[in-house]
């Protein structure tokens, strides 16, 4: 009896696996690959509309589940095929469905609306799907979980990745080459030569001369005059002797000079710096002789410690 029921069900299922409904000139079908699947298997459900009229046919809206227990895994777009001199149009949509629960599932007919009219529609035949579980042999021993399968070494894979890497490196190199070659400085126009930076003593002497020409103390700007002399001298000492004279106070500068210059230069530097400190910070107004003496001392210091030019170098310069 059991066997009879099963055979009957299979016969119905096979007949029902290709079902369709024709209304006038609109024919709709829903087809399953098979009516029997193992739990978790994926099968195709093809929805097809053959339309020989100019009516618009609307596909049913199917979301992620068809009925409870039957899930839509993948959904294609709707394909359109024109046949027989463009009079017949076939629309197809393929759905990949699956189920994770064993049992029998009866899918109700899919309804296609014609011209959007809910009263005017075409329907497919209902579908049956049987989902079976994997048969378990209880009498046999329990087996261990299988080990992971080892993937065979594939030289092609290695060559593919190394090749892509090399290609990218070469490409990057070419791009960098072009960028860097573009940044190269343009050649200096012939006829112009780059000016050699002036030595510190020449800069200092030029600045002292400019200061002298300004005649600041003669116009009563004594503080400004001594501030500038002190600044020129400290700039020169910094450039010539290589210590941070601009950031040091008079005492610190004097202790730096102790080991670097002779006593005469030390004495003159001290005179200038102390006098300028008095003029700058104590509203002191030195005598005209002292103002001139500071300038003369500054020129003497610059000339005393400037680098000595050898005769050969002089000739070369000439």
């Amino acid at each position: 009896m059991k066997c009879f029921i099963k055979i009957s069900f299979l016969a119905i299922g096979l007949l029902a696996s290709i079902t369709g409904y024709s209304q006038g000139s609109v024919k709709v079908t829903a087809t399953l690959d098979t009516n029997f699947i193992l739990i978790g298997d994926q099968i195709n459900l093809l929805l097809e509309v053959t339309n020989t009229t100019k009516n618009e046919v609307e596909f049913p809206l199917i979301l992620d589940t068809i009925i409870e227990g039957v899930e839509v895994f993948e959904k294609s777009g709707i394909d359109t095929i024109t046949k027989e001199g463009y009079d017949t149009v076939v629309y197809r949509q393929n759905l990949v469905i699956t189920s994770f629960d064993s049992g029998f599932y009866a899918m109700s007919p899919f309804r296609f609306l014609i011209n959007g009219d809910t009263a005017n529609y075409a329907e497919t035949e209902p579908l049956l799907l049987e989902v079976q579980t994997i048969p378990v042999k209880i009498e046999e021993d329990i087996k261990d979980i299988k080990d992971p399968l080892s993937v065979p070494f594939d030289w092609f894979e290695v060559v593919k990745y190394v090749g892509v890497g090399l290609f990218l490196i070469i490409l990057l190199g070419i791009i960098l080459f072009f960028i860097l070659s573009k940044k190269k400085p343009t050649e200096i126009v012939s006829g112009f030569t780059q000016r050699k930076p002036l030595p510190p003593h020449e800069i200092a002497l030029a600045k002292l001369q400019t200061l002298k020409d300004k005649k600041l103390w003669q116009h009563g700007r004594v503080k400004e005059y001594h501030s500038e002399i002190s600044e020129i001298l400290r700039e020169y000492l910094e450039a010539r002797l290589g210590f941070n004279a601009m950031e040091q106070v008079t005492d610190e500068i004097m202790s730096e000079l102790e080991t670097r210059v002779n006593e005469d230069v030390q004495r003159k530097s001290k005179t200038i710096l102390q006098l300028s400190d008095l003029a700058k910070f104590a509203k002191f107004e030195p005598l005209p002789d002292e103002n001139e003496q500071s300038m003369d001392f500054a020129v003497d210091i610059v000339n005393s410690i400037k680098p000595v030019e050898l005769p050969e170098e002089k000739k070369k310069q000439e």
Partner: protein, 327 residues
Amino acid sequence: MDIKEINEKIQKESEFVDLLNLELDKVIIGQKYMVERLLVGLLSNGHILLEGVPGLAKTLAIKSLSDCIHADFSRIQFTPDLLPADLVGTQIYNQKTHEFTVRQGPIFANFVLADEINRAPAKVQSALLEAMQERQVTIGDKTFKLPEPFLVLATQNPIEQEGTYPLPEAQVDRFLLKVVIGYPKKEEEQKIIRLNVEGEFPKIEKIIQPEVILNARKAVREVYMDEKIEKYIIDIVFATRFPGEYKLDKLVPLIGFGGSPRASISLAMASKAYAFITRRGYVIPEDVRAVCYDVLRHRIGITYEAEAENVTSEDIISEILNAVEVP
């Protein structure tokens, strides 16, 4: 006032400095630096935080200074169980008169030595610091002015930090100077041994009246400070806040916070006082540099990154002084 007049006035007003130094030299061997800073604090009307390991004559120095001046001295040993009332005073019930009478605390003195200030809890520290700032104390419903001159010298021990209450940054800022005291030189220590082994300590005479100090304070305010020096001070303090603007980008991650405007005021006042004790009527950049470390070391907050790299606030100040142009 003319600079010559200021100079003459300063020369006259600062005569006591040499006398004071001579008197202090009788008992304090070496520690010139500390004595000089004590005078700067005294003349700038600021308070001093002394930091040094035990046995460096911190207490002796302040005691001797007060002995030289006709002034009161009190010493408060800060402990974890000290209460604000132990410091400022309290009201006591008189059973005879059935009235509350005020008993003033040890803070009512010209010179107050707050020994190991970081051993007392925050409420006592803030009571002291409030009194330092306001120069007055309120007990019950009565407010009492503190005597003039009023100078607080707080000591701090850099070792044994367990069970201490470090002073918060806002409180530390109220000290004009934070002086770090080092060990004496070999020959100085030899003299210290001899003096102590003989056991005959010279007695310090009271040679200065408090009015002399008050007049000297007025004279300090008159010391001439040129605009260039003011700008130099501002540059130094700004460099602690925005080192990037002074080409000191490497200090940016090391400084948590820089000096406050109070730091600028303190640096200016301390520079003037330093010029005064060197008997000059005007400030020069040397004066600013001389007090710069003591004024700024407790006002610059260093970051964890600086601590990890063993960078101290002194290192930061050195970098700043080497980068800021002298006028």
